[in-house]
């Protein structure tokens, strides 16, 4: 891993981020074009509040994905955070802040647990996080056997503040994105990307690979917990099954955010825009009055189109500098070649 490859990666990140933003802007502009009723601050504010749980969750999912891992615990932590927030705030309405901090701590602990098992014991990330997801679903079911609970308005309004019609949640999301942008430029961030693109090289170059990887899962855990709190604000109640849909939507959002599923490439900010696209798409289909059952098909096709964007740019690049094309191999192939040698 040399300076030149890192700067090459930087350049590619921005390309993918731009693509993710363009996808979102295209979908959202189309939505505004076909649905006049979406063209007001009220609808925009609704949209932002609604996308918050997914948008925050995918910051975590994509961070782990960048290290080359898969984190399925998103559904478990998010659901448990929702259930705990409901149960606790219903019982202790005045304790909103300590409860929030406690839940963030829970996310951290779950993330650390995942990270330690995966990194120190060398277990497979998808399997460990699947197991912890299933366990947390069980705990959620025990804590809250049926949807319900009445979350005090003081608690939900903490997450749904609106400043002059603009949702404060948007500010929170921007802060989280800036935080991520900052993190990705620190040593922690560089190490994250290095682990994803070439673990061996990262180890050899003396990076804190293990600690960083555990850190990625812990960071993700906290993000899922925050996402669960925003979900609680949106629904003002708890549901033991609330996390389940996020198991697949978070990965769909990450795909629309052009984060590489092979690690080492992508941006959590792109994933946030991916989440926005995923929330806007059904609204666009609604505006277009497309028959309901086609929505799944159009979602699938949109994901496939998003996947082929890097492919198109790759083709274009190759056309421009044909002689160098042979040297361009993706990181995975390089690793494989190393194996052969």
């Amino acid at each position: 891993m040399t300076i030149s490859t890192i700067s090459a990666r930087r350049r590619r990140i921005s390309g993918e981020l731009v693509a993710a933003v363009v996808i979102f802007v295209v979908i959202y502009s189309l939505l505004l074009a076909v649905a006049p009723f979406e063209r007001n601050l009220y609808s925009f504010s609704n949209f932002v509040v609604l996308m918050m749980p997914l948008a925050v969750a995918v910051i975590g999912t994509s961070t782990v994905l960048i290290t080359g891992g898969f984190d399925l615990s998103v559904a478990g932590t998010l659901g448990l955070s929702n259930v705990l927030a409901t149960v606790l705030t219903s019982a202790y309405p005045d304790m909103g802040v300590p409860i929030t901090i406690g839940i963030l701590g829970l996310g951290l602990v779950v993330g650390l647990f995942n990270g330690v098992l995966i990194v120190l014991l060398g277990l497979q990330s998808i399997a460990v996080t699947l197991a912890s997801y299933i366990c947390m679903t069980g705990v959620a079911l025990i804590l809250l056997p049926a949807p319900g609970g009445s979350v005090p308005i003081e608690f939900t309004s903490m997450f749904k503040l609106s400043v002059g019609g603009f949702p404060a949640a948007l500010g929170a999301l921007i802060v989280l994105c800036l935080l991520w942008a900052y993190l990705s430029r620190t040593r922690f961030g560089t190490t994250l990307f290095s682990i994803g693109s070439d673990r061996q090289a990262a180890v050899i170059s003396g990076m804190l690979v293990r600690a960083t990887e555990v850190g990625a899962y812990a960071f993700a855990g906290v993000m899922y917990a925050i996402a669960g709190l925003f979900l609680t604000a949106v629904t003002a109640s708890g549901d033991p099954n609330a996390g389940f849909p996020f198991l697949l939507t978070s990965f769909a959002a990450v795909a629309l955010g052009l984060v590489s599923f092979r690690g080492g490439k992508g941006s959590a900010i792109g994933a946030v825009f991916g989440a926005g696209s995923l929330i806007a798409l059904p609204k666009l289909l609604f505006g277009l009055r497309i028959q309901d059952f086609w929505s799944g098909a159009i979602l699938g096709i949109t994901i496939l189109l998003a996947l082929s964007l890097p492919l198109l740019s790759h083709v274009a690049k190759r056309r421009r500098r044909r002689p160098a094309a042979a040297a361009v191999t993706d990181t995975r192939s390089r690793k494989d070649l190393a194996d052969v040698e």
């Binding site: 098992l117 060398g122 599923f261 098909a297 699938g300 492919l311 494989d336 052969v340």
Partner: protein, 343 residues
Amino acid sequence: MSNNTLPTDQTGTTILPDPRQESVPRRIGAFFAQPVVIVWIILVLMFPLSRIVSPNFPSLGQLESTLILGLFLVVVAFGQGFVILTGGFDLSLPQTIALGAFLTGYLANTGWPVMGAIVAATIGCALIGLINGLLVAHAKFPPFIVTLATGSILGSVLLGVSRGTPAQPSPAALSSLFSGKESFLGVPTPIWALVIFALIAYLIQMRSTIGRRTFAVGNSEIASRVAGVPVSSTLIIVYTIAGISSGLAGIMLLGYSSGADLNIGASWLLPSITAVVVGGSAIRGGAGSYAGTIGGALLLTVLGIDISAAGFSEGVKQILYGVIILIALIAARLGKDTGAARI
């Protein structure tokens, strides 16, 4: 991480140096350290251990139920495991199961002969697998998200096409074959189906050319390419086989329940991955054995029966499932470590 650089053989255990240099007890130790063997030992032990939860256990009825109910998981886990072997995932499995069940029921209802309907449905599911394979092999899309997308599209199309008649009844012949009411040589017919399917699947994964190529591709695509393995066509065939196995599971479920609606596959996605993992396969591909997957599938089934008999609440059940997966993972890991330590 140092262990990862060691070569591994098809069963996921570390290849040992020349066995003649190994003492007999060490070789026996290495044998028992294999994930496959561990899973099967636990599986066999589960039956007497079941007595803890029910005085009626162990019983012939328990074994019979395990094998009949295990059939579906053994079938879906084959396709999923085969794809996982290449380092991929098949998330379109639920919708492919639904397609298999729906097409068979629909065609048989419109007057097709049962065999014709089954063959047509299997071909339909193979096509879904083929599309997945093409997208993964040629477009180089990540399998996880490709199959998520194709599954979403397929589910949507099925819903659109089936307007008004989402549920399909099963042809009578299929029902009698898979409902568990009929026996052949004193053994219920679904158990025969299990044995036949497991044998064929084992031969495909562990003894055929395509099986060997799949292991090679899962270990290293580039190395396979260098060694002359046709990587793309191998991937395409693997996904097609996965499509077929999901389709067959759908057809069997249609027969078992003598009817099926479009949600029939939804409950099989996570168990299919769990069975493969518990069976000791590497989720990143390149290592695993179908014998282990069968063991994993049957272990999960018998656990389901025991947990049901124990009368735990749903929450406790979920926690138990999660803990068991973790234990299986750690056990497999420790087994691998002891194997490696012997070199």
